[in-house]
Each structure stands twice: as structure tokens, then as C-alpha cells.
């Protein structure tokens, strides 16, 4: 590696800076890329998702829009169908309710309903997640809902390195991509991130293909499958378990659609124990889907299964209750122990 390459890789970025770098790069390369959302211009995105972009690209391409999600998300669909490459931001994923038709009946289905005659190359970005007591209407992840409805690729980065590569890929993809970033991972001044998401990030562009899960920690005794913030909580749990001689493998899904079942199955074949961890609601969701896919193809490998997710309650406001329902590293630890001892 040249000295310059070395320096580049040593450069650490927060997740938000890494995302913005990919967006800026794509905007420089392609005039057809633009960004729409509430408070994305002067504010730079409530969660720093567009910080600094207005200065470089101006109001025509970094567009503040009225609080009319149906209109502007739908407008992104329309512009994408004209061949442009819009990125439209929903400030919190929880707000999808006011614009869901444009998302799941238009954006996600137009390709199929047109028999492939139309395509919708847009990115829908949204902030997800809790852990800071913002209560039931501002703390959900809802990954599973997008992944359940056919026609959307669903990306959930957990580190700056992944965030950049996945964003390049999302903008270049010819299909609609829902890119969900966890607020707690962005590295925002007022919401301290855990240690993990700030990583070395090369200055040059690179893509991370969708459907490639990443083994964030190798282990022999149990497979922990997770995504987003909970990758870091699972790694913390794995460190604690290692002290007791339990060696957990941690798989970061990175994308839910497409889902890399191969990496999961290989790991379970090795460990025999599967623990799925998710910050979304438990029932009818990501945890059930992963377990079902392993059961379908590798039931014989499976000696124990546990899942850790938000029990089926809306997210409560008060600290003791939110801490109770959002899985933490101790919850993951105890689930791995249960699986291990089973």
C-alpha cells in the first residue's frame, strides 16, 4: 500500500460524514442526482445526513420541501421514472404513515405493474431507532415493514465504512432503495454514538454489493445475526461472553432485501446455535424471517434458537420502560447463554 493509501484508510469518519461523502461524490458525477427533504438545506439534516451539501450544490439540488411527504416522496417517484436519480429523505421513519401509498403502492410496485417497462431509481433515506426517550412516534425502526412489502431494497448500515459503500450502491441502483440509518450511530454531537460506527473510510469511491452480510466477529459457539445499532450491542455482548469462554460469531446483515442467507446458514452450520437480535417489533418481523429461512434449509444444523427483539409494544417514553423493551447487550448476552446451554 502506498503511503497515501495508508493515510486514506487511517482517516476515520463518523457514519454521517461517510454517507454525505458518498452522496456528494455521486452528485458531482451525475447531474441527475438531487436530494429533497425537510431541513436538508440550511440545517444540513436534523441528523447531519446532508451537512455541508447546500454549500457545494445549492438550493436547486439540495431542496428543502414543505411538510408534504406524500407530495415530495411521490415527486421523487415521478422524477425517478423520468430517469433522474432523486434521493428523498423522510426525517424519521415513523412518519412513513402520512405517505405510505407513494412508498409501497407506487415506488415499490410500478416496476412490477409495468412489467418492467418502468423503473424507479430512487433512494428513500430515513432515520430510525430509539434509545433516547423520544417515545412511540419517533423511536421505531420499522425495517421489517419495508422488507415485508415487495419491490424495495432495504439497506441498514452499522458503520461508516459500510454506510459509504452502501450509499454509493444505493444511488447507482436502478431500483428503489430504502436506506435506513440509525440516529444513535450517526455521530451527531448531541446524541453520542457508541465506539463502533466511526471507522476508517477510504477517500475514493467504493461499493458494497447488496445481499452481502458481513461477519463482524468470528466465533465458534453461537451465531448472532443482527443489524444497525444492535451490531454494536451484539459485539459488546460477545466480548463479555468471551470472558466466560463462549465464542460468539456476529453477523451484520447490512441489507434485508436482498438477504444474504448463505452467510447465515454457513455460520449456523458451524455453531449450531442461532440468536437473532433486532430493534424492530418481534412478531411478523426480521427475527422470525431469519429463523424460518435457517429452519427451511438447515433444520438439522439447528440445535438452539433465541430471538431478542422489541416485545410487541409501542416504544414507551420513560427511561426505565424504554430500557426494558429495547434490547441491550445484557439481553443479547443472556439469550446467547440460553442458546449455548440448551
Amino acid at each position: 500500500m502506498s503511503e497515501q493509501e495508508q493515510r486514506a484508510v487511517e482517516r476515520e469518519l463518523t457514519m454521517s460524514r461517510a454517507m454525505v461523502e458518498a452522496v456528494a461524490h455521486e452528485m458531482r458525477e451525475d447531474e441527475e442526482v438531487f436530494y429533497m427533504g425537510e431541513d436538508v438545506a440550511d440545517y444540513g439534516g436534523i441528523f447531519d445526513s446532508t451537512e455541508g451539501l447546500l454549500e457545494e450544490f445549492g438550493r436547486d439540488r439540495i431542496m428543502d420541501v414543505p411538510i408534504s411527504e406524500t407530495a415530495y416522496l411521490g415527486a421523487a417517484v415521478g422524477a425517478a421514472q423520468e430517469g433522474m436519480r432523486p434521493i428523498a429523505e423522510l426525517m424519521f421513519v415513523d412518519f412513513f404513515g402520512v405517505a405510505m401509498d407513494q412508498i409501497y403502492n407506487q415506488m415499490a410496485k410500478n416496476t412490477y405493474m409495468s412489467g418492467g417497462a418502468v423503473n424507479v431509481p430512487m433512494v428513500l433515506t430515513a432515520a430510525v431507532g430509539g434509545t433516547y426517550n423520544d417515545a412511540a412516534q419517533h423511536s421505531q425502526t420499522l425495517y421489517g415493514t419495508f422488507a415485508h412489502l415487495p419491490g424495495m431494497k432495504v439497506v441498514v448500515p452499522s458503520t461508516a465504512y459500510d454506510a459509504k459503500g452502501l450509499m454509493h450502491n444505493a444511488i447507482r441502483d436502478d431500483d428503489p432503495v430504502v436506506y435506513l440509518f440509525h440516529k444513535r450511530l450517526m455521530g451527531i454531537g448531541w446524541m453520542p454514538a457508541p465506539d463502533g460506527p466511526k471507522t476508517p473510510v477510504p477517500e475514493e469511491e467504493y461499493t458494497i454489493p447488496f445481499g452481502s452480510a458481513d461477519v463482524k466477529r468470528e466465533g465458534e459457539d453461537a451465531t448472532v445475526v443482527t443489524l444497525g445499532l444492535h451490531v454494536h450491542r451484539a459485539l459488546e455482548a460477545a466480548d463479555a461472553l468471551a470472558e466466560d469462554g463462549i465464542d460468539a460469531e456476529v453477523i451484520d446483515l447490512r441489507t434485508l432485501v436482498p438477504l444474504d442467507t448463505e452467510t447465515i446458514h454457513e455460520s449456523v452450520a458451524k455453531t449450531g446455535r442461532l440468536v437473532v437480535v433486532d430493534e424492530d417489533y418481534q412478531s411478523y418481523g426480521v427475527t422470525g424471517e431469519i429463523i424460518a429461512s435457517v429452519a427451511e434449509d438447515g433444520l438439522a444444523d439447528l440445535e438452539a434458537v433465541e430471538r431478542v427483539a422489541v416485545p410487541d409494544v409501542p416504544l414507551p417514553y420513560a427511561r426505565p420502560m424504554e430500557n426494558e423493551v429495547v434490547p441491550d447487550s445484557e439481553d443479547i448476552e443472556s439469550a446467547v447463554r440460553s442458546a449455548h446451554d440448551a
Partner: protein, 337 residues
């Protein structure tokens, strides 16, 4: 009105202090006695006080994410509301809702953190009153940023076509977070939206509580008499950031200064003085307001935090087969994350 306005202003100032505790020097949204987002309404008191003065306990009010001044004007239980904001067991919602999700059915008050989504339920309250031949009314408060939202426009239409007893009140504080009004609508006077639905629309151009009172008297009277909805817009001012911790770097200094200068409470005090009210009478009202607020905050802080397991209750009033929610089969640790 003066009393509610003075109470609301002091309440927001005190909450700001409490909120910032534990969040300095480095601001961490999840630290301190009040976690999460906090949207304070200092500078918007006139709209709430002028309108709610005409309301009874059986009238319904829905407020948006910036609800405290409206709640105070509508007579929400101040102690239990404060306990809710502090996330305590004796809060209005036992700590489940927090500051954007205050519900006090006894006072006819509810709010929502999703823009404009209080409008349809207000229409529903008006519908119920009409169906039952009652003369209660419903009022939906929203910000000027919210008037671009479908739920608001659909609600205007439904209320108009059904001639429902509803008043929509736009609190125009010029800003939707960082977006100035002129960037998101070409119609400076939001009350003109009413014309599209053939309902009366009135704008009160200055946050003058007396002018709001007069305009609201007519609007609420019309609704109560069964003559249908009205859209009211009131110019107010945002004296603080959008939420606590908002750096407001997008906002020109002059705009902040102007908001500080135009103080609707001082204006009302001047009006009252010119009508012969003595200074010490006004000061006595302020003093009483401060005592009430301080007492509510003290009380709230003494209340216990909720039991973590309470999180599983209240998903349904009628939990299926006796379970409230799906408790995990292994113990979920409360933890200190």
C-alpha cells in the same frame, strides 16, 4: 387570559432549566431529568389563551408537538402533565407518552407528534358532538408548517362538507424548524386556505391576545351554534429554538431579536393597565403563576419512576387472552443504556 399566558411562559422557562440540567456542557439528548425532544412554546401563548378562553371542559382540543401552552390554557392537570414530561409514574400517561403525547380526557385534551395528525381526530370529536346533538366544539391547533400536510387539508374539507363544529387554529411562528414560511408556501396568509373549502378564514396579524379572543369568540360561537367550521390563523413568535438544543444557525439574529421584542404578554399587560388594572394586581397574578408552576415541578420530581414491567401494560384495554403484550421468554434486562 393573562394568567394562563403568564403561567405558560414561566412554565416553559422552568422546563428549559430542568431540561438543560445534565445536558451541559456537552448536550446529550438522552441525559438529564427530562430526556428526549422538548419543543417549548414561549412566544405563542396568545393563540392558545385567546382561543381556549371560549372553551368548556367538554370541548375537545388537539395540539401538535408543541403542546404545553395549549394544555395549560385548556386546563390540563398541571401536576400530572409535568410528571408525564419527567417520565414519572403519576404522569398523565404513567410515563408512556412524554411531552409530545399528552392525554387528559377530563380536560378534553390530546396531542400528537406527527404533523397535522391532530386535525382528523378533532373533526371526529366535532362529528360525535353533531351526531349526539350536543353543543360542544372541537379545536385543532397546528403550526404554519403543518398547513402543507394532507391531513389538514382533508380535515378542512370533511369538516366543511359535514358542517361540523370545528375550529382550526394555525399558530404561525414563521418557522418550521429551519424552513421559513415563504420557502414552503406561496400564500403568506394561511387563513386563505379556508376559501378553497368555502369556510370562513380569519387571520390575526399580530400576537395580540385580545384580537385572538375576539376572532375566536366568533369562530367558537359559530361552531357551537351549528354553523360549521372556521379556520383561524394567528401570528405568534418562536422565542426559543425549534427544540431545545437547536443551534438555530439558520436563523438571522434580527429575527430572534424581533421575536423577543414582540412580547404578547407585555402587550396584554399594557392593555390591561390602560383599562385601569394596577401593576401590583398583575404582579400578583404572575406570582401566583410562578408558585403554581414551581409546585407542579417540585411535585413531579418527587414522583416515582415507572416500573419497567409497566411497559407491557396498556397496549389494549382488553388484552387478548389475559396477556398485555408479548413478554419475552427470557428476562429482558432493564440495563442502563
Amino acid at each position: 387570559m393573562f394568567e394562563e399566558m403568564a403561567t405558560a411562559r414561566y412554565y416553559e422557562e422552568r422546563l428549559q432549566e430542568e431540561y438543560l440540567e445534565g445536558k451541559q456542557p456537552a448536550f446529550d439528548i438522552s441525559a438529564g431529568p427530562i430526556p428526549g425532544e422538548l419543543h417549548l412554546a414561549a412566544g405563542q401563548e396568545a393563540a392558545a389563551a385567546g382561543v381556549c378562553r371560549h372553551l368548556r371542559d367538554d370541548d375537545t382540543v388537539t395540539a401538535p408537538h408543541r403542546p404545553h401552552h395549549v394544555a395549560i390554557a385548556k386546563g390540563v392537570d398541571l401536576k400530572r402533565m409535568t410528571a408525564e414530561i419527567f417520565g414519572r409514574e403519576s404522569g398523565l400517561s404513567s410515563g408512556k407518552g412524554g411531552h409530545m403525547h399528552l392525554f387528559d380526557p377530563d380536560a378534553g385534551f390530546a396531542c400528537s407528534g406527527i404533523i397535522a395528525q391532530g386535525c382528523p381526530p378533532a373533526v371526529g370529536a366535532g362529528l360525535a358532538a353533531k351526531k349526539r346533538n350536543e353543543d360542544s366544539v372541537a379545536v385543532a391547533f397546528l403550526g404554519e408548517g403543518a398547513i402543507s400536510q394532507g391531513a389538514f387539508l382533508e380535515s378542512l374539507n370533511l369538516a366543511a362538507v359535514q358542517q361540523l363544529p370545528v375550529v382550526f387554529v394555525i399558530e404561525d411562528n414563521d418557522w418550521a424548524i429551519s424552513m421559513p414560511k415563504e420557502r414552503v408556501t406561496d400564500v403568506a396568509d394561511g387563513s386563505r386556505r379556508a376559501g378553497g373549502f368555502d369556510m370562513p378564514g380569519v387571520r390575526v396579524d399580530y400576537d395580540d391576545a385580545t384580537a385572538v379572543y375576539d376572532a375566536a369568540k366568533e369562530a367558537v360561537g359559530r361552531a357551537r351554534a351549528g354553523n360549521g367550521p372556521t379556520l383561524l390563523e394567528v401570528q405568534v413568535h418562536r422565542r426559543m429554538g425549534h427544540f431545545m438544543g437547536d443551534p438555530e444557525s439558520y436563523r438571522p439574529d434580527e429575527d430572534v431579536a424581533a421575536a423577543e421584542q414582540r412580547d404578547s404578554i407585555e402587550r396584554l399587560a399594557d392593555d390591561l393597565r390602560s383599562e385601569g388594572v394596577e401593576d401590583d394586581e398583575l404582579e400578583a397574578i404572575r406570582e401566583e403563576a410562578r408558585e403554581r408552576v414551581d409546585e407542579a415541578i417540585e411535585w413531579a420530581k418527587e414522583q416515582p419512576e415507572p416500573d419497567p414491567d409497566a411497559a407491557y401494560e396498556d397496549v389494549f384495554v382488553n388484552p387478548p387472552s389475559g396477556v398485555t403484550a408479548q413478554e419475552p421468554d427470557h428476562e429482558l434486562a432493564g440495563g442502563d443504556d
